[in-house]
Amino acid sequence: MSLDKKAVRSIAELARIEVPEDELESLAGELSNILSFVEQLAEANTDGVQPMTSVAAMTLPWRADVVNDGGYPTKVLANAPEPVTLDEGGFFTVPKVVE
């Protein structure tokens, strides 16, 4: 699979990573090289093989659906960029999304 600039622009948008217009071409080349490398898997015969979704041969544990953690908003906000402090309500902040 060879990716062009347009495809890379759209992947970068999906990944929410800004890529300058003048880097799209070289990035398309790098990503295409990687994809042609991994595409050798096409030749492996996987007819009737079940995808391996878990390494461990064990069933994931169940637990009661109850709150078992929390109650420390100061810690939760401790590393937040530009948070609203606890005495003002205690929030994460983002740029305005609703006019």
Binding site: L3, V8, I11, A12, L14, A15, R16, I17, E18, V19, L27, E30, L31, N33, I34, L35, F37, V38, E39, Q40, L41, A42, A44, T46, V49, Q50, P51, M52, T53, S54, V55, A56, A57, M58, L60, P61, R63, Y72, K75, V76, A78, N79, A80, P81, E82, F92, V94, P95, V97
Partner: protein, 490 residues
Amino acid sequence: MSALENLTIAEAGRRLAKGDFTAVELTEAHVARMARFRHLNAYITETPEAAIAAAKASDERRRQGQAGGLEGIPLGIKDLFCTEGVQTTAASRILEGFKPQYESTVTQRLKAAGAVSLGKLNLDEFAMGSSNTTSAFGPVENPWKRKSAPATKLVPGGSSGGSAAAVAARIAMGATGTDTGGSIRQPASFCGIVGIKPTYGRCSRWGIVAFASSLDQAGPMARTVEDCALMLNAMAGHDAKDSTSAPIAVPDFARALTGDIRGLKVGIPAEYRPAGLSDEVAKVWDQGIEWLKAAGAIPVEISLPTTKYALPTYYIIAPAECSSNLARYDGVRFGLRVPGQTLDDMYRKTRAAGFGREVRRRILIGTYVLSAGYYDAYYAKAQKVRRLIADDFANAFKTVDVILTPTAPTPAFAQGENTDDPVTMWLNDVFTIPTSMAGLPGLSLPAGLSSDGLPLGLQLIGRPFDEETLFRVAGVMETAADFKALPEGV
């Protein structure tokens, strides 16, 4: 070299118990030495005051007869483990200044065993790399030098490059590492130390910055097999906070070093001897087989036919999981924020500025292989091939007890080499990735030196949750190898 920093963990533990020296003295010796070796750039964050305070507390516990399994032992912690109140960066700008409000389970267990943390060790950004050159905090230098070119700076391997370099340079008695495709074993090989990636599920992943969750596993790195066993004793165990952590009892791994491997069947996979494998690596491998034979083990030729597909499978699955895991770095709840006009604009600018080149590349590949219309062709296909790789090992373990291979195809290379093409760089992990794909335990130990004076490691691969056999065989090989060489200046 001062005697204290050169001790093994086992010996230091015995002598601390006898009262030959205190944990404070042992920690101070390491702190002084960290300054001398700062040019290696092994630590991102040194925490000397906290280390001395922890050592004092350790001496106090010992006086009260409450010594743990690693009481007073100074260790380095890979900067991928969350440590309460101590900056945890994953070697990325996007996490610079991030101070976790909680402690990872593995580091909590090490503390509970009495270990003293010297600081946070450098790594490839988000553990993505095989040379420790993708760190946002600069590359780590391997203390080992080529005899032919002692001025050339060599890489320590990666991603646990700071861990390996620190242990080799005696600025930590042992260190935590994490291994996703070889990130404990390859740097251990490059730096002439021992490292084990335990079975997936043996150590809790809780509080470890996630890269590829179906592959990531923590493990110890130290200078002897016994020291790794002692560290793993403390690190391993079930944790309800990690649903993939195995509810399996943890044996005393150090007791597995019986020295007796008579009758053990050791698989030698033909596929790990590709055309073009360096003569030196092949020679060390052959030597390893001879050591095992001399100790009464039986080498058995085996085949792992899907080996050649392991690398391409990994480079679909690991980027796919990384693109999901790293979606959390969005500038909202923690880490870097670059202002933007809109929410999406903020995401895009934050992630462009915060992630380095290799991380961005892997996120983009992962995003692509998971995107609508391509999922089956790439990700689902890779999951099927992954099962074939795991089946290869399961078949082999019907006839053999352990598998012996080289750890890496080459000794340490120079900073700046192998960087033009990511695929060439990835070949470093060709012998370690299959084990990771299958979730099996793998141990690397130093087995000899290249003609240019650099360490070469051998890898032992075991059945799921049979780290004990790895330690037992590794102990025998360690005695036979009698690896005493030291890096220059150490």
